[in-house]
Amino acid sequence: MIKKYQLGFTLVEVVIAALIIVAITGSIMYGVATTDNSLRNVELRHYAFNTLSNKMEEFKAQVALNRIQTSSDRDRRVCIEYKTIRDMVNGSGVGNGCRTIGYLSHNIRNRKTESNHAHIFDIEASLKYKVMSRFGRAGKDTVIKLNVSQLVFD
């Protein structure tokens, strides 16, 4: 009697093994891409918050000194991240030196008070910017907001 020995793997076994390897590699790559983008988004949020708080300082000065330039504005382009230190110092705005652009909106309102010598101003400012999508492209819009009330005496 001749016994036939089958050495090696069947096609089904090889395909299953390949699928498992692809699934493991894919999930590792997905995890790495997601972590990388999450870190970048945290960094962008930090830059956006700094830009917004810097703009808020300007608005507070305008209100305190009664030199309000524009009481309301929508989607003004501002640079939230510069490419180099020199670009930042030269104030290259939203030109070539800007890596990430944001859109600033603000509204300054004089709240009605009973006093003739004191005024309360409500300053609302928001900054819209694009967060990174999973594979490194600019994705959906994110908005951060800051509200400040400022008391001004005549």
Binding site: K55, E58, A64, R67, Q69, M88
Partner: protein, 189 residues
């Protein structure tokens, strides 16, 4: 007589293939561990730069909003003057910088911020390449009081570290706009 040849163990081809696979897997693992180690170190270096810049900028912010006079005339220097009740300037706080020592307050390194300089570790160190302040509102049509009350502080830090034998340099720009509540700013810009 029936002779049976028994093949026990592996052939040389099987051994070589398994050794190659093992080498690839171990090599890949070593690469991944090395990369993640480097990545973690790099993130730590970056965090240290940001922490240093945050501390410096906070210190300058607190000094300038409480100062009676702020002078940004000299490039690379911010001078805060504090007055007594009779209106005389009785103390000064001078912010200055040295490329390898960081930001100095009255000639001494800032106590609240740790600057990793070249002398301590040649493989990882920071350098201050830019430090200046200028008026926040430039241009025609802006009142002089507004121009003098808002300053922009710029701080540029360069981070240097090594990857293998290669030197890597990264630049970090930081900016803080400060509305000086009490101060009269003397600026020639």
């Amino acid at each position: 007589m029936l002779s049976i040849k028994l093949n026990k163990g592996f052939t040389i081809v099987e051994l070589m293939v398994s050794v190659m696979i093992a080498t690839i897997i171990v090599g890949g693992l070593i690469y991944i561990v090395g990369e993640s180690n480097f990545y973690l170190s790099k993130q730590m270096y970056r965090e240290n730069v940001k922490k240093y810049a945050d501390n410096v900028i906070n210190d300058i912010f607190l000094s300038t909003i409480n100062a009676n006079e702020v002078n940004i005339e000299n490039q690379g220097q911010i001078i805060c003057g504090f007055k007594t009740a009779d209106g005389l300037v009785d103390s000064l706080k001078v912010y200055d910088f040295r490329i390898n020592q960081g930001i100095l307050v009255d000639g001494k390194p800032l106590e609240t911020a740790f600057f990793h300089n070249k002398d301590k570790n040649k493989n990882y160190y920071m350098q201050v390449v830019e430090f200046k302040a200028k008026s926040g509102f430039d241009g025609i049509g802006v009142g002089s009081d507004l121009r003098e009350a808002v300053i922009n502080v710029f701080l540029g830090i360069q981070l240097n570290y090594r990857r293998g034998g290669r030197k890597v340099t990264e630049s970090f720009p930081f900016q803080k706009t400060i509305f000086i509540r009490k101060a009269a700013v003397y600026s020639n810009q």
